[in-house]
Amino acid sequence: MGISLLAPLFLAGLAALAIPVIIHLTQKTKKEAIPFPSLMFLRRVPYKTARRQRIRHWLLFLLRSSAIVILVVAFARPLLENAAVGGIGLETAREVVLMVDRSYSMGYGDRWSRALDAAHGVIDGLGPEDRATLVLFSDHATAVSDAMGDGAALRAALDAAELSNGTTRYATPLQLAEQILAESQLPNREAILVTDFQKVGWQQEAEIQLPTGTELQLIDVAEPDPANIAVTNLTLDRIYRDGRELVAVLARVANQGEDSLKNAQIGLLLDGDQVGSQGVSVDANGSATVRFPSFAMPRREVRGSVQLAADALPLDNVFRFVLSPGQSISVLILEHANAGRDESLYLHRALSIGSEPPHTVTVKPISALRPSDLDANSVVILNDAPFPTGTSGTRLRRFLNDGGGVMAVLGPRSGPSSWPQDAADLLPGAIGVPVDRLGDRGGTLSIMDYKHPVFDVFSAPRSGDFSQARYFRYRRIQDEGRSAVLARFDDGNIALAETRVGRGKMLVWASGLSNSWNDLPLQPVFLPTLHQVVRHLARYAPRESWFIAGQVLDLSQYLAQGVVDGTVSVLGTGVDIIIESPAGEREVRQIGSTTEYLTLAEQGFYEIRHAGDNDVVGAIAVNLDVTESNLSRLDAEELASSVTYRGAGQAAADLAATLTPTEKERRQALWWYLLISVLAILVAESAISNRVSRRNP
């Protein structure tokens, strides 16, 4: 073992060895005089005697001398020339971060087993002084072990690793590696990435720089030109025919290979039974849509999947969905007793169109309203008819309080005296005389609340032009502050306002819907606006047919979706449910007033069961993120140069070749250990000399 010194001139400091010698031989007399009552008995004695020149306290002398010698050597900056035979082996010790990709694309062919073999190889190559951290990653990274030199523990952690349903994200493991390596005190740092180098996993926005001198080793387990077909999307098309609900399934198939796909079999399964199968041909690097024959939707929830013939990556060849029966919204249109024959023509026609959800429309004069009519409908439209009085009025108010929706359309017959006083609180304010805008070719809507559910579908640019509609007359409504104004005319008068009544909602439209006071029914925005109004009043929200793995779901909200009146009618609230994951793991949740989140980590169907009788009451379909199906490759050198100051393997080689003695000395930092030993010696010296002093005051 060769030892050299960076600053040998400091060895001149060894002359300081004379200090303890002098202390022990000639300067034994304490500097501070010892006070004594009287010197009458003390005789002056010769100061220099033979006894004084003899070294006493040999241990103290040796400690002091060795402290000076070590201190001088530390300042001389020693370094080991040949660290391989170095007694402390610091130069060869490595801090290794082993990152293994476990995204689902690693399930392609035998990539996963090759990745594990490569990782085992890295662990086998660890030296006795090395420490390694195993990081498994997909869209998030987890250090499954602390930095350790225990190869057996690392192998056990690696053997326990499984593929995930996540996508590849290189930023998270590299950030974790950066943190681990930056905190390491070992002289050599190494990051090893075992992955298939998917292009989708790397985005340049991440600011990651591995510490200087870190060697980044890239182990590529991908094939040169991988081919993959995947079902990337589904469309569920509902059709209502002869009172029956038919569903057509359209599947999007992508081919990410250099060879075209010829007549591959793709099948549709409902509740486990195959109900359709056909061949699909897709050009190289292209995509195609497959339409399965329509099937009659049963009056229950259906679990379905579209499956392609297996290829090297079978996980993305299946696409699952859950289909609930479509629910129609029942709308009751109440007309004035003196209404004309086509008073509600536009309303009726507009609501008759649409399948998601379909509407069931009933028109009758308000004088014919019976309390039982309200039981069968979710929405009531008072089309230029006053709020009913008496029993019907009481019943309609209760309907509102219980969560129903009512829209009052104020037309020519809805004068100030027509609205009963006991229902005045349902309006934003008192109804006034009509505003006549015939003179200026009609007014327009100028202010709309695009955050409100009625208008939010029109919030994007070119999503609906309300300026085309002209309003020649409308009722002036005083704004008494108890309602939310959703739209105003260009003169500031209220056009549409909403009042909350109990759990229900009351909308008031100030200008009629019969093409007499305005031409809104003739405009393209009329139909979608009316559909949005009815959906909003009925509190309708469609239930998602599938989710993507990794999404977090609000269970209460999910169970409330797809139900017209907005209540969790299937289960009720405050009940315990069991969630069974695709892997069969069960957990109990309570559906109550608080938000209950569920992380959908696995691909497949999550089952929702009653905790009491274990009956299945619903299911959630979870599909993989299809972006991971894109196996396009990333240039590994590009990744390496982005996260290291120099290239990957070359950096380490250059480093080893160009280390100057100063850098070697800095990496070994032997002076640091020497100073610690000096400190320890001085502490021991203090303790011993204190003891000696106590014994000899």
Partner: protein, 297 residues
């Protein structure tokens, strides 16, 4: 420092338990041990006290009886009191300590305890504080205990010490024969010490010498060669204790023996106190010895 600090309950309690204060030892130490220096009764009226069975009825104050219809006995100072005077050396050498308690502090405690005991026996107590001269003097009186304790509390060691001049002055100012307790480290030629004390002794005073020493002054346990500084003169000399220890111990022993022999030969009681020895133990030992001596007399 509070007065009560000198009257350490631990010290007093232990002496109490030996019945010291009640009879032989205390009586001997304060009254009996030292025969009253005056013959006959004093005419210094001190106070009245209620008549107790056993009192001589001739001492009943009939005038008071005539006025109050109660028996009171007249008390005179000379009946119960002797002059008890502490001579406390506060020279700089007394300020030495090797174990935390200086000789001066030890002497203060000693002086305070003895003054307190004496006052308990209705002696008149006083104190002379001196170094190379008299620093403070409180005449002996039945009412001076608090002043004595206060002086002891506030004294400070500042100067070097001498024996002859201050003790000569003491001899001149003392009018009555007294019990004199000298507390000092006696760093003086024994002949001079004896000479100074003999003057007092020849005037009829009863003298007790409390020689206070620090253990280090006797044992000389130092190991490291060092300069030693005289606390009084400030003189420094280099000393190698190893080579000097035996010589020092021999000289010190000789000095102590000479002091003891010459003082006793001149009828002066001599007692050595080492500050490492508990104060109550030292007091007890001394008082017990005095008690034995009184029986011999």
């Amino acid at each position: 420092m509070k007065t009560s600090q000198f009257l350490d309950p631990k010290v007093l309690a232990r002496i109490d338990s030996l019945d010291l204060l009640a009879r032989t030892v205390v009586d001997g130490f304060i009254n009996g041990l030292h025969h009253s220096p005056y013959f006959g009764l004093s005419v210094d009226f001190a106070e009245h006290r209620p008549y107790m069975p056993g009192d001589d009825i001739r001492r009943v104050d009939w005038r008071v009886f005539g006025r109050t219809d109660r028996f009171y006995v007249k008390e005179y100072e000379a009946d119960t009191n002797a002059n008890f005077l502490v001579l406390l050396d506060i020279s700089r050498s007394m300020d030495y300590s090797s174990n935390g308690l200086s000789k001066l502090d030890y002497g203060r405690y000693l002086a305070a305890c003895l003054s307190y005991f004496s006052r308990q026996q209705r002696d008149r107590v006083g104190i002379v504080i001196f170094d190379q001269d008299i620093v403070d003097y409180v005449p002996a009186s039945a009412k001076h205990l608090d002043i004595v304790l206060h002086k002891i509390d506030t004294l400070d060691s500042r100067r070097s010490g001498k024996f002859e001049e201050p003790l000569l002055k003491v001899a001149e100012i003392l009018r009555r024969r007294s019990i004199l307790v000298l507390i000092s480290d006696l760093y003086e030629d024994p002949a001079r010490v004896v000479k100074a004390l003999s003057r007092l002794r020849h005037r009829g005073n009863d003298i007790i010498v409390f020689h206070v020493l620090d253990p280090a002054e006797i044992e000389f346990p130092f190991a490291e060669a060092a300069h030693f500084e005289d606390l009084e003169s400030g003189e420094r000399i280099p000393v190698v204790p190893e080579t000097l220890r035996e010589q020092y111990r021999s000289l010190m022993g000789e000095h102590l023996d000479t002091l003891s022999q010459r003082l006793v030969a001149n009828g002066i009681d001599y007692c050595r106190f080492v500050t490492s020895k508990p104060l109550d133990y030292a007091l007890f030992e001394y008082l017990s010895r005095r008690e034995r001596m009184s029986r011999v007399r």
